[in-house]
């Protein structure tokens, strides 16, 4: 529907390192590149084309009451086509926030962006990128932040469930899960944390999982990737919270999304829209650690308390 979003390019085509002199955590300001669609109407950067015509839907009068008189938040969503991310995007769009969406599949990203635009996001920018490509992160983030003219919230929602059985047989499969769920978000957070800390502002909301709280026989590979992520995010909070940056560890229980389709007991999983409503509120407040639904704080406390000599006999 929106061919301008369907950009087949990916950041893997970007230069391998932004700074050959060595690791440097200042985000580069790249020249305008056809790889990224700049946020509509943002135009903070010279050379960024300003969209003369807003989509008609943005002129609608149907915004919710709470959006009246409130400045839109500038929200970057990494992994925007994941089920939980998309449900949050709908809520942010409906209240008129400014969004920049990043995902790997151009068709899916175009559909999510069209939906956000139609629901009333004040601007929607998007970039097609494979976030496994950590070398492309600084340029990607610079485009997103420049496109929105700043950053209030970065929501890291990319991740894969992987297949435990396959991972047990092959380190390659295990490594792919660890890379997508741990290494790639760590790379993004390294850049984003320094950007936010320098400005003493911003919220970094990271989707981890209750699965990271204890290694279980049925999914310890996914679990360990999320355990590492939780520890990293918790530590990052302890480093930069005092700089005025909110760093959030979000731990959902099982949620009904495409990712959990094949899992058994799915009828009992949490509704993704209810989870998103909780998260949008929690991100507004910048809470430290969020279990969602809240009952998982108690469930995981119980699961953590089971002695290992008993736990190892269980089929959890």
């Amino acid at each position: 529907m929106n061919p301008d979003d369907q950009n087949p390019a990916s950041t893997s085509a970007a230069p391998a390192s932004p700074d050959p002199a060595g690791p440097e955590t200042t985000l580069p300001v790249p020249a305008s590149s056809p790889m990224f669609e700049q946020a509509r109407g943002a135009g903070q950067l010279s050379g960024v084309p300003r969209e003369a015509e807003q989509p008609l839907a943005l002129r609608s009068t149907g915004k919710r009451a709470e959006s009246a008189g409130r400045t839109p938040r500038k929200i970057l969503v990494l992994g925007a086509t994941s089920g939980i991310a998309e449900a949050c995007i709908r809520l942010w769009a409906a209240r008129g926030d400014a969004l920049y969406l990043v995902a790997r599949n151009p068709d899916r990203l175009a559909a999510v962006a069209a939906d956000a635009r139609t629901r009333g996001a004040s601007s929607v920018g998007s970039a097609v990128a494979n976030l496994d490509d950590t070398a492309g992160h600084p340029e990607l983030l610079a485009h997103a932040i420049n496109g929105m003219g700043g950053l209030d919230v970065a929501f890291l929602a990319m991740g894969v469930l992987g297949e435990q059985g396959q991972a047990e047989r092959s380190f390659e499969a295990t490594h792919a899960i660890l890379h997508t769920n741990f290494t790639a978000p760590v790379s993004l957070l390294t850049w984003l944390a320094n950007y936010a800390a320098q400005r003493h502002a911003g919220t970094l909301a990271v989707l981890s999982s209750v699965a990271g709280e204890r290694g279980r026989r049925s999914n310890y590979v996914y679990g360990s990737s999320k355990a590492g992520l939780t520890a990293f995010v918790d530590g990052l909070r302890n480093r930069i919270d005092r700089e005025g940056v909110r760093v959030m560890t979000i731990k959902p229980g099982p949620v009904k999304t495409a990712m959990t389709e094949a899992m058994k007991g799915r009828e009992k999983f949490a509704d993704v829209d209810a989870v998103a409503a909780t998260l949008v509120k929690a991100i507004d407040k910048g809470k430290d650690v969020v279990y969602v639904p809240g009952i998982w704080r108690i469930i995981m406390a119980v699961i953590r308390a089971i002695p290992e000599r008993v736990f190892k006999k269980l089929n959890l």
Binding site: P55, G62, R64, D107, R108, A111, R119, E168, R266
Partner: protein, 473 residues
């Protein structure tokens, strides 16, 4: 590095994990996909479509037929496929475009009418046609070419579908509208999902200034009073009647004629609150009987004390009285319910309706959701569309195998004798001969059917005539 002689090399060692000792989870899988009538019940594989590009990839390796389904609000087996693959579209529910100047809304086909209303009402727009529940998908509304209380003004839902995309199982994608692929456009509206999968569609919404409906309820006794009220209400947008099918003698064919228009007085356009009530359990089979339903019907008739009442009412209770209680079909217990809905043309509408109401009253089979309406003459673009000018009557029966099936079969035969037809979306019983008499255009329609798609309904009424599983041409 030194290796001891005779040590196995990496190639010889088995690095594979031993087979799991865990007892495999007991088989059973997901519960079967149920239609709203919960009859018949068939096992099928259920797959979710989340993205427009998921189809036809989702049916790779599927050899027993497939069918796209939405919310499963059809009563019978048009949304079922025994031992086949059901592709549920509800995860494909994105809004793609909206023009507040014209009311043209483009959305993925798995979006529900409830989700469309949540978006459109605060923006001053309403559905052009709505059925008695908002929990149906856009794709389902097109596939069954649903109708509503404004049929005599607006025609069917298909009349307001400006365009959609149709994907065939061979991967061909077609833009369908009155001018682009008009034959597939006509075959797909009311095409029962058999012509292909609809990833997205565009409809024209209509403007409103208030959530309120100017409502009037008028008691009537007998078919003549109903027909008079119907003809007097020609200028009213919405009309429908509830009729007491348990009453006999002097109360025969008594009912309440309900009519309404959108209020023209501007008022706040808030979104609807979410329903909180869920019907808690299945009632035992004996709970709905002649006594309890007769009592309910008497109460409903006399709840309206005066001959005529007028109020300003929110659109939710006016259009969707039953949506306030989720899963209300549990009221009919485990066995489920049968719906019966006919349309009989004006020529025989009156005698046919009287004869059928009489037959229902005489059978003593309880029905308290009986709805009577005069259809208008706005033609539908759909080749297989159900409504035609005349009278339509819709009834529910709890399923009591011998009795309700015998009554149903009698009513279907009577419908045929009066030149009427039944509604596939509400049917679980009509015979092949009846279907082909009701819809003589079926052979032309079958030319547009996708060979990979079928439904238990289609297998029942056509199946054998088109070869194995009705997937041939």
């Amino acid at each position: 590095m030194h290796y001891a002689v005779g040590m196995p090399t990496a190639v010889e060692l088995d690095f594979n994990p031993p087979p799991s000792t865990e007892a495999s989870d007991k088989a059973g899988g997901p519960p079967p996909f149920e239609s709203w009538g919960r009859y018949p019940e068939y096992p099928a594989e259920l797959k979710q479509l989340h993205w427009q590009g998921d189809y036809p990839r989702a049916i790779d390796g599927v050899h027993h037929g497939a069918l796209a389904v939405g919310m499963g609000r059809s009563y019978g087996d048009v949304c079922l496929l025994k031992d086949g693959t059901l592709l549920q579209t509800t995860g494909m529910n994105r809004l793609l475009d909206f023009d507040p100047a014209t009311g043209l809304l483009t959305a993925e086909a798995g979006i529900t009418l409830a989700e469309i209303l949540d978006f459109a009402v605060p923006r001053g727009y309403f559905l052009p046609v709505t059925p008695g529940t908002k929990y149906v998908t856009l794709g389902g509304a097109i596939a069954n070419d649903i109708h509503g209380k404004n049929h005599h003004h607006a025609g069917t839902f298909g009349c307001h579908v400006t365009q959609f995309e149709l994907v065939r199982s061979d991967g061909r994608r077609m833009l369908c509208s009155p001018t682009s692929n008009p034959d597939y456009y006509a075959a797909t509206i009311a095409g029962m999902g058999l012509t292909g999968v609809i990833p997205w569609a565009q409809i024209r919404l209509k403007p409103i200034v208030s959530r309120k409906i100017n409502y009037q309820g008028i008691q009537f006794h007998g078919i003549d009073e109903f027909l008079d009220l119907s003809s007097q209400a020609g200028n009213v947008e919405y009309t429908v009647s509830w009729v007491d099918v348990t009453a006999t003698g002097k109360n025969f064919c008594r009912g309440v004629f309900m009519q309404g228009d959108h209020s023209q007085t501007p008022a706040p356009l808030k979104p609807s609150p979410k329903p909180k009530l869920v019907f808690p359990m299945e009632l035992p089979g004996f709970a709905l009987n002649r006594m309890s339903v007769g009592a309910f019907n008497s109460l409903f008739f006399h709840k309206q004390m005066k001959k005529r009442v007028s109020t300003l009412q929110d659109y939710e209770p006016f259009f969707y009285p039953l949506d306030a209680v989720l899963k209300w079909n549990r009221m009919y217990g485990k066995r489920g319910l049968l719906q019966f809905q006919y349309a009989i043309p004006w020529e025989h509408a009156k005698e046919g309706t009287v004869a059928i109401l009489y037959e229902v009253a005489r059978s003593g089979l309880a029905s308290f959701l009986a709805v009577l309406k005069a259809f208008g003459d706005v033609p539908s673009p759909g080749m297989m569309s159900f409504p035609k000018p005349g009278i339509t009557l819709a009834l529910d029966f709890p399923i009591k195998p011998e009795k309700s099936f015998a009554l149903f079969d009698r009513l279907a035969e009577m419908t045929r004798e009066f030149g009427g037809r039944l509604y596939p979306a509400k049917d679980a019983r009509m015979t092949s001969a009846q279907f082909q008499a009701f819809y003589p255009q079926w052979e032309r329609f079958a030319r547009y059917k996708d060979p990979a798609l079928t439904s238990s309904f289609w297998e029942r009424v056509i199946g054998g005539q088109l070869g194995v599983k009705g997937v041939g041409r």
